[in-house]
């Protein structure tokens, strides 16, 4: 059906995009109202929480990790896996875990029945599901492209079809502009698969966050920290003698300065991936919060000034959201690009074999001093 829509000439891509956006926003509204009613139900059950969440929409609930995934057809509860004192406990959902009697809930935290805190919570969460979805989509598209290349399309002839072309453009962009621009050319092929895979995975995770009911996996600090950790490990593993020399024994400075410089350099080792993870996290999070907040204004206005004003003002908020959505698509790809770019820059910096500056300075000094001596 979609193929038919895209092929037919009477519908321009712009129109299709508009209709798609309308459908998406429609389901977003449904999701929001569902969560609003969910909060209302919860407040019925627990009077104390009614005071806490007086806001009609739950912004934090939309961006936080959950033990269920929201779908257009309702919530799907995910299995819980706990590891307590060297013992595994698996349940199909949180409710089952509590119903089994092995676990109790105290002030929002789950403990084992004997009140031992959970050592490691290995539960499948909504963000994990979207991480997997991002990986799987990246894998599927890559495997599909690989099968095409294996068949010879793109290898002996030009790539065919929009998806194949986009894939190849992305690959060539990452390889030529991002990786080979910052990593020495003879070593670049070693890092191309890693960085391209990371780019694809992050891009798909970011783009999944654009679905109204979906969670943005990259708006979770754990996800971005793990990704940055991989970059960190790869960077340190590929560090050359020059790189380590610059950290622990900066060439060309007096000993006293080295005592100050080395801690700074060691600190810089960790701040770089930290900034990398915070950048992606904060960018994706802020986009999500902004969209939810702006759409939430409809409900806030409804509560404050009545349904007429709320619905009437929704024209402004929805059009603003449409603009923001366009921006978010751009930001989703841009952040994936920036993550890959900075990873390449860090790895390239670690791979640097020879530092030219000191030598140049030394040569200049010699040149300057010679005429004076002469």
């Amino acid at each position: 059906m979609f193929r038919h829509v895209f092929v037919s000439q009477s519908l321009s891509p712009l129109k299709v995009a508009f209709v798609t956006l309308l459908v998406l926003f429609g389901s977003f509204g449904v999701g929001l109202s569902a969560s609003a009613t969910g909060v209302a139900n919860a407040s019925d059950a627990d009077a104390a929480e009614t005071e806490e969440s007086s806001s009609p929409i739950d912004v934090m609930g939309k961006i936080a990790d959950h033990d269920y995934i929201e779908s257009p057809f309702g919530k799907v509860y995910l299995p819980r896996i706990f590891w307590v004192d060297g013992q595994f406990y698996t349940y199909s959902s949180t409710k089952k875990a509590l119903a089994s009697g092995d676990f109790i809930e105290k002030e929002g935290v789950i403990y084992r029945a004997d009140e031992t805190p959970i050592t490691i919570d290995l539960s499948i969460t909504s963000h994990l599901v979207y991480v997997w979805l991002g990986f799987i989509l990246a894998l599927l598209i890559s495997l599909w492209a690989a099968s095409r290349y294996r068949r010879g399309i793109g290898r002996t002839s030009a790539p065919k079809g929009a998806l194949h072309n986009i894939y190849e453009i992305l690959y060539l962009f990452i390889r030529d502009d991002v990786i080979q621009g910052y990593i020495p050319k003879e070593k670049a092929p070693r890092y191309t698969p890693l960085l391209f895979s990371m780019f694809m995975a992050i891009a798909f995770m970011n783009l999944f966050g654009l679905l109204p009911w979906a969670a943005t996996a990259t708006a979770d600090l754990t996800v971005t920290a793990t990704l940055a950790f991989v970059t960190f490990i790869v960077t340190q593993a590929s560090g050359t003698k020059t790189y380590w020399g610059h950290i622990f024994n900066f060439p060309g400075v007096p000993l006293l300065v080295k005592f100050i410089l080395t801690p700074v350099e060691i600190l810089g080792l960790f701040t770089k991936p930290l900034a990398l993870c915070f950048r992606l996290f904060a960018n994706m999070l802020s986009g999500k919060i902004m969209i939810i907040s702006i759409l939430g204004l409809i409900f806030i206005f409804t509560e404050l000034f009545g349904a007429t004003v709320g619905v009437g003002s929704s024209v402004i908020w929805v059009s603003l959201t449409a603009v923001l959505y366009g921006l978010k698509v751009f930001v989703a790809l841009l952040q994936a690009y920036i993550f890959t770019l900075l990873s390449a820059v860090f790895i390239g910096g670690a791979l640097e074999e020879h530092h030219h500056e000191e030598h140049d300075v030394e040569h200049n000094d010699v040149k300057v001093m010679d005429p004076i001596n002469a």
Binding site: L139, P193, T222, T226
Partner: protein
């Protein structure tokens, strides 16, 4: 309520170890499949295509250069042929000239020789004629003188005298 259960464990800025372990495992699996199955054909395919494009470009350039070289060679050959033709013509002309000059020389020599011979034979004839004439004149003179003097003169003495006279004459 369920949400709050989870939120307490993982608020906005907290790091969830179990989640990180899951991500790390999935990331390793993902990267493993990408490295093993997905990316090699893509990387190799694109590289192969780039190489084939590069090699065909190189081949085209090489062919162009070769064609240029061939045309230059052809030009050279044509010029060489022209030069050879020119030199052959020049040589032929020279030979012909030489031949003609030689023939002329020979002809001249022959003609001169002929003239010389003719002159020689004329001289001889002239000498001969002169001698004959002298003899005739001498004879005639003797006869005439004999007729004139008859007995008077000894024929021997007279002959001597007349010979001297004729010799004087011939000297003149």
């Amino acid at each position: 309520m369920m949400m709050s259960l989870f939120l307490a464990g993982s608020s906005l800025l907290s790091f969830n170890t179990g989640f990180a372990i899951w991500i790390l495992i999935s990331l390793i699996v993902f990267l493993g499949i990408m490295y093993k199955f997905a990316l090699p054909p893509i990387i190799k395919g694109i590289e192969e295509r780039e190489q084939s494009i590069q090699s065909s470009l190189d081949a085209a350039e090489k062919a162009l250069r070769e064609a240029e070289k061939i045309s230059k060679d052809n030009e050279e050959v044509v010029r060489e042929a022209e030069r050879t033709a020119q030199s052959i013509r020049k040589e032929a002309t020279k030979e012909v000239e030489e031949f003609r000059a030689e023939r002329m020389e020979k002809a001249k020599e022959e003609a001169e020789k002929l003239i010389e011979d003719a002159k020689k034979s004329i001289d001889q004839e002239k000498q001969k004629a002169l001698q004959e004439l002298r003899k005739e004149v001498t004879d005639l003179t003797i006869e005439a003188t004999t007729r004139l003097l008859q007995k008077n003169v000894d024929s021997e003495t007279n002959r001597k005298l007349i010979d001297e006279t004729i010799n004087d004459l011939s000297k003149n």
